[in-house]
């Protein structure tokens, strides 16, 4: 029988199992006697073995079998689930992942696994138990039987699977694209409706708009994936990094059931890796340092996601040494990012955001994320390109907190349309703090920079017509139209010719080569066919 048609399914299902395997191993390291998790881990290995054997992937099946055997010994109480077992299992999981990747890339999935298999099957319980007694409580007797047996678990999973289907992500992308086009066409029809002035047409359009709203909500819902989709990988990463750095770290995840658009989730992986690594590498002290300053030896990193109205807030915090604003200022001056006389003008928030300036990261930080080329500037840029925001809070000796606020979805967004002759531009409403009509008499000038005061805060004014080299705005009116946005931790007022109103748009990529143009995040087609550009507010200055 030709099994090649099932290869894709095998790869995707195996990856899910490996994901669970990694998660369970890290959890069991903390709670070695959790019988349910031990059984789950055994079942995961068993499932991979069975699937691989039926597909004829002998090496994968054999390695999974060895892992299953090892877990069986743990189940029977012959072995204690200690760091040695965890290391072996993680090594096995990594090797399985590599073999599956090889299969995906057209290879055979065959690796030299003899050494690893030998290591797993030759694992000596006596040595392990002797070593384990010094760190873990000894188990007086084998684990009690699990509450749920294998058959029950299988039946439950089969029942669940009857209510779900696997859908390729391209189909989901196509669905959202078609819905976006329908919304664009709804606005086209509404424009026609205004010209025709037909009550019947308007009624039908009202109904169409209602149905489209329902469709949009359903499609968005389908695209939503839990935060766990990406957060599951972090416990393993933190464990490995902590071992490498010789630090004791407790890592907690909250809100992993919070849902976000899969497009946003994909973009969030690298920024979160960087932020968590920073917290572990630079934020947390070593156990000795912590004890010396009266803290528990074990440091804490918390990754939490929660819903806040139509946004998701993701927080990464640590209870480490915190950031020293004086050091940040000195470093910024030293590197030429800041004039010494300006240092005193920065608020504490702005000072902390200095770490997001391109090139601010030290060479060591760049080495730590070797190959990625991601610094806090790239993190900040990614978050802003997702129409989100980044804030930093830190207290010396107490720790730091990075707060990311993100929209639930990025494909269909609400924008404020504005005119900057000859362009129409769209500003994502999530980027706007306020809009206002400012009286010209309120504008003052300092060092050739126009500004106005908002509750004692000097807000610089930038003309978008100047930024985009458009026609000069008419200067005879008493008021100018402004929207206030936060750029690199500071409020900035952007002047436009006039506001045209708020609308929902379907964001389209600019693609090659126009995507290289800074300050533009994409484009959209309005109901009258006009193309507007969506501002990338974070990169306007």
């Amino acid at each position: 029988m030709d099994m090649s048609q099932y290869k894709e399914l095998f790869i995707s299902e195996s990856r899910e199992h490996l994901h669970s395997m990694n998660e369970l191993i890290v959890l069991l390291e903390k709670e070695a006697a959790d019988r349910e998790k031990i059984d789950s881990l055994f079942r995961v290995a068993h499932s991979i073995k069975g699937m691989a054997a039926s597909m004829g992937y002998g090496d994968i099946a054999e390695l999974a079998h060895k892992i299953e055997d090892l877990m069986d010994r743990v189940r029977k109480g012959v072995l204690v689930f200690d760091a040695g077992v965890a290391d072996l299992l993680l090594e096995g999981s990594d090797r399985l992942e590599a073999m599956i990747l090889d299969l995906e890339q057209g290879g055979t999935g065959m690796h030299d696994i003899a050494g690893l298999m030998q290591k797993i099957s030759g694992y000596d319980p006596a040595v392990v138990c002797a070593a384990a007694t010094s760190t873990l409580p000894a188990l007086a007797e084998p684990f009690p039987p699990a509450k749920t047996d294998d058959k029950q678990g299988t039946r439950q999973r089969q029942a669940e699977s009857r209510h779900t289907v696997r859908v390729k992500t391209e189909i989901l992308d196509h669905l959202i694209n078609t819905t976006g086009e329908l919304i664009t066409n709804k606005f086209r029809l509404m424009n026609v409706g205004k010209e025709v002035e037909s009550a019947r047409l308007n009624e039908a359009l009202g109904e169409l708009a209602r149905l489209l709203r329902e469709l949009y909500n359903s499609v968005i819902h389908v695209r939503m994936m839990p935060f766990a989709t990406i957060s599951d990988r972090f416990p393993r990463m933190v464990r490995d990094l902590a071992k490498k750095n010789g630090k004791e770290v407790a890592f907690a995840i909250e809100g992993d059931d919070i849902e976000l658009d899969r497009g946003i989730l994909e973009e969030l992986v690298d920024p979160l890796i960087h932020i968590i690594r920073n917290a572990l590498d630079h934020g947390l002290e070593t156990a000795d340092e912590r004890l010396a300053c009266g803290k528990p030896a074990q440091g804490l990193i918390r990754l939490a996601a929660c819903r806040e109205k139509d946004r998701v807030v993701i927080v990464v915090e640590d209870d480490g040494r915190g950031m020293d604003p004086a050091k940040l200022l000195a470093s910024a001056i030293d590197k030429g990012f800041l004039r010494p006389e300006k240092a005193g003008e920065l608020s504490p928030r702005e000072t902390l955001l200095l770490i997001c300036m391109p090139g601010f990261s030290t060479a060591r930080e760049v080495t730590d994320v070797s190959g990625r080329g991601v610094g806090m500037d790239a993190v900040s840029s990614t978050i802003q390109s997702l129409a989100g925001s980044l804030a930093i809070e830190s207290e010396q000796g107490r720790g730091s907190r990075i707060i990311l606020k993100l929209p639930l979805t990025i494909t269909i967004i609400n924008v404020l349309l504005a005119r900057i002759n000859p362009y129409s531009i769209a500003i994502p409403v999530t980027n706007i703090l306020y809009t206002m009509e400012l009286r010209r008499s309120q504008i003052s000038c300092r060092e050739k920079q126009e500004l106005f005061y908002m509750e004692d805060e000097a807000v610089p004014i930038m003309g978008l017509n100047h930024i985009f080299a458009a026609s000069a705005p008419s200067s005879d009116g008493e008021f100018i139209s402004l929207f206030i946005a936060e750029v690199k931790g500071r409020k900035v007022g952007f002047a436009v010719d006039r506001f045209l109103g708020q609308q929902e748009v379907f964001v389209k990529p600019l693609g090659r080569p126009l995507a290289k143009l800074r300050g533009l995040a994409g484009g959209a087609i309005l109901g009258d066919g006009e193309i507007v550009f969506i501002l990338d507010v974070a990169n306007l200055l």
Partner: protein, 144 residues
Amino acid sequence: MMDATNRLLVFTLRGSRYAITLENVAEVMEPPLIYPIPHAPHFFPGIMNFHGNLVSVLDLALFLSGAPRNPQGKILVLDARIANLSLWVDTIENICSTDCILEEYESDENLVEKLLMMADGEVKMLSVEKLLDKLEEILAAAGV
């Protein structure tokens, strides 16, 4: 039917003849309604709606030779797998097989891959990849 990779689309630009592999072309069309692009260099007259996708329009004559485009020219839309770009050219001459190439020469023009000698004269083979690289380099520097 002949494979598109073996066929060339020949077009003219200010008296010169250029060729592009047919497989890189999605469509040839009349100049569409275009909208200006903020802060783009002047050889980008605008952007158009091409079957629901945003495609920038490059005035190839202006870009390559500094001469203004022919208002009655044609728009050569590149395949979406390569770029969201279309080229405003003077005229479309023909589609020919690569078998019609009599000889090939090296070219010292940056964006010309090679010079093709055909029975009816010389044709410059445009390097789409080099063109895109060059445009991206210019746009990255031109941004706000």
